[in-house]
Symmetry: C2
């Protein structure tokens, strides 16, 4: 990772943990509040793989066939079609067919690993390689608020989720549309959203993709915060470009992708797949279509600007073949995620999938089983960028405060797991085994005394007490404990410092842009 983020460094703070020290961290842990901020994960464990060489080659050959024979539609964007024609593709109307090997050849300029800079350089992240970055839920129009109401999200909710993500030790990224602030006009809300990420957090963030001019606004605001030259030379924004599966990229997504690629900012090309509706009902068929779509979409960014960072994205879900409703945490999407991660590695692109996905309407056992299944496969697949890592509920229609608090606890566990097994002398603990011997216990031995504070991951949500103590404390469920924790975090939130000049300039920009157009609500 490129560590020379000088422009960002000057504006950044150095991180809560570095100010507070060990005593503060212990105090924070003992009250269940945020602990030490963790940098993005460097995975020390192998990736789990579900396809062998034969299976991978088969799917790759099938994807090539799809690209060559069926093709992909690039809709409503004459420039895109011209770029493809000039690159040697067969363009017929809006259908683009690709000579064998064209997309892979174009992708040779895409970086396998890149840095996304945060205004606090300690929060900058690596995308790709052995890195895993957790970002919050993206997209819900509704929230489950802390009083239990399900209602449309507001800009205050948006800011709250940015604040919680800022405080969460194992959230490495502020994300994008943590919820849709529907109380702000649709043509202006991107300004408030980008500002919230910049002002209420110092972690890296995502850009607006709902219109090319909103992508341009995102870049303009980033230039105010990071400096114009820094932005043109470094990646400070990553943005989600969904394919309109099957086999279509639409005008809106192409417009935003072009803006970001031109400015050297990162895009995540993601077929949004509910298998059975947007792709075949089989895992291998879905993987074939996903690969074809990503090959075309990611190669397109390289036509716009060779070298622009681009991520192989996959959103894997199935539908209930009885009701048509999306389902999560089931076996087939896990197989798709594992397989897609393998295809991405062979292609040399960073990979995005998964998160903590569920169809449940509340933060109950269904929500947790489905989220844990999704997150476990996401992690073991070796995913580099994990959107929806916390807060997702109801198939992505709802951002939930309680679910967010539960999920970040799980992310902390995954981060510990990824460090693997300590095989040092201390890890081997032979002195402890010798000291204790048969029939005794390890509670007071020297090795335990020396290691107990850090030996085991400590959950912020789980109640491990006796039944009697749990009863005396009011028989609280995980949902109730998460509610209390979210309230206490929001009460104790402190904004990271920001350069006052930059903050004023951002506010001026937003005021000017908002003043330049009438409100639109659709």
């Amino acid at each position: 990772m490129n560590e020379e983020a000088a422009g960002a460094a000057r504006r950044g703070r150095t991180g809560r943990a570095e100010r507070g020290g060990a005593a503060a961290r212990r105090a924070a842990r003992s009250t269940g509040g945020p602990g030490q901020q963790l940098t993005y994960i460097r995975r020390k464990l192998p990736n789990y793989e579900v396809l062998d060489e034969e299976g991978l080659s088969l799917i790759e050959a099938n994807a090539d066939t799809v690209l060559e024979e069926i093709g992909i539609e690039f809709r409503g964007d004459a420039e895109a079609l011209k770029l493809w024609r000039d690159a040697g593709a067969d363009v017929e109307g809006e259908r683009v067919r690709f000579p064998k090997g064209l997309c892979r050849a174009l992708l040779k300029t895409a970086p396998p690993v890149f840095a996304q800079h945060a205004r606090n350089p300690a929060r900058s992240v690596q995308i790709g390689g052995d890195a895993t970055v957790f970002a919050p839920v993206y997209g819900p129009p509704f929230v489950r608020d802390l009083d239990g109401n399900r209602r449309y999200a507001t800009v205050e909710d948006f800011q709250n989720f940015v604040k919680l993500a800022y405080m969460a030790p194992s959230i490495h990224h502020s994300g994008g549309t943590v919820c849709e602030p529907v109380d702000v006009p649709v043509n202006k809300r991107h300004l408030d959203m980008v500002y919230a990420h910049m002002r209420f957090s110092d972690k890296p963030f995502m850009g607006s993709v709902t219109a090319p001019e909103r992508a341009e606004d995102t870049v303009a605001m980033a230039k105010i915060l990071f400096g114009e030259d820094f932005v043109e030379q470094n990646t400070v924004i990553i943005s989600l470009i969904n394919a309109n599966s099957p086999m279509v990229f639409d005008e809106t997504m192409l417009g935003a992708a072009k803006v970001y690629a031109r400015h050297n900012q990162a895009t995540i090309i993601t077929p949004f797949i509910l298998a059975g509706a947007m792709s075949p009902v089989t895992v291998a068929g879905t993987l074939t279509q996903v690969l074809a779509e990503v090959l075309a979409g990611a190669a397109f960014t390289q036509l716009v600007r060779p070298g622009a960072p681009v991520v192989f994205g996959t959103f894997a879900s199935s539908i209930s073949m009885q009701s048509g409703a999306p389902t999560f945490g089931t076996p087939e999407p896990s197989l798709v995620s594992y397989g897609a991660a393998q295809l991405a590695r062979r292609l040399g692109l960073p990979f995005r999938t998964g998160g903590s996905l569920t169809a449940s309407k509340v933060s109950d056992a269904q929500a947790a089983y489905e989220s844990a299944n999704t997150l476990n496969s996401t992690m073991l697949a070796g995913t580099n960028f994990v959107l929806h890592a916390a807060g997702w509920l109801e198939g992505g229609l709802v951002s939930s405060y309680e679910k967010f608090m539960m999920d970040i606890d799980q992310l902390g566990m995954q981060q510990s797991f990824s460090a693997g097994v300590d095989l040092s002398d201390n890890g081997q603990a032979m002195d402890a085994i010798r000291e204790v011997g048969p029939g005794s216990h390890y509670l007071g031995c020297a090795h335990t005394q020396a290691n107990f504070q850090t030996a085991f991951y400590r959950s912020s949500i789980a109640d491990n007490n006796s039944f009697e103590q749990w009863l005396a404390e009011g028989e609280k469920t995980a949902h109730q404990r998460a509610n209390q924790l979210a309230r206490s975090w929001l009460d104790s939130y402190e904004a990271p410092p920001i350069d006052e000049g930059a903050d004023e300039a951002l506010k001026d920009f937003i005021a000017r842009r908002k003043g330049s157009m009438p409100d639109a609500f659709a």
Copy 2:
């Protein structure tokens, strides 16, 4: 697997699914009732491994050092000490120290794979190799009943859990102490427990280990059911032998182990580890101790009867270093399970770990996160025998009906996942991609029509409906749906047929044994 279970075959029924056919299966699925009974899993996917050759060799060498220098205590069993002395071990009081390589040499006679026969041969299972067998929760003295009460378990509860396990498609094994029927005298309840497994299910089961004479009773009852010769020549009972960690086997467990091994019945030698109390606070230290304990305990079964089936067991948990309470679903026990599975494979023994473990007092999100984390690592580790696969709550103090119903749904998902990716022409689905093309959908295409009934795992617990429909149906949580499902299963339970002569003989045996001793309650 040995398919020649002729004695068992004559007594068995041929399985619900085979009688009902496809129409009945579809009907059962559409009402959320039990579907087709599935045979044990043959895993088609690779195992996940967290240790490399260097790490494995290091832990093996350390375990050898523990066996040689520190040794293991075999308490209260003069015969065991004599067997070890005769085998060349260094016996000092009850402490046994093992010359390098002795235990491994003894284990050469233990089968890497064996069959455990059920009275219905269609329900017989393979233990070891690529097989995974799910068995229910084991040991809790309490239940959470269907009215929400937490109370001592009764023999009626015991029978209920046996019935649910019999009906559950992805439970392959009836288990053992599915709960402790504390309304029956402690010295007689094993008779009722073993009878319940034999009468209310036709799946394989576990034997009593709480006293050598109770193990003998179990074997005697098995001989009534399966025939005397069949039992001496085949494995029809598997039993749980816990080490009293650290580094102790006690009189009770040794007594039961000897009975079963002598009759060629299987034992699972399991260090019951709450790391930080019964083992070092580190993963590598815990693995070292686990391996040493299993090497000694499993080798002991081969001293009793060379060739007796024995399983490498591991029960992995950590304790909260603040309260001392056991914790589940956290990263460290997952690493222990993965590592122990690798050590077992290198040793050539079948492996047992995991299940659906949680410390939660209720079937809430904590219960589900922790259970899913445990089960995912259990499965990907390549575990052969999964005790506690369904129904476990509150750190093993409680058997829960609702949790049982939730967990078996997860087991079904794992069973689907383990089948891997279908790469057949139908799996590749190229015709579907060609038929649908860009911008359409797959809902009605020929390939979807041909595959939709079996394409995706269908959860019996998850609610994937719209928020509005869920609201109209009473805003039920997963817990509430599981409660309804357990009630409806128990209402529709039908006992498998049993040979009337065998049943009478079993009842006579039990009456005689119960009449031969006064009730004991402690």
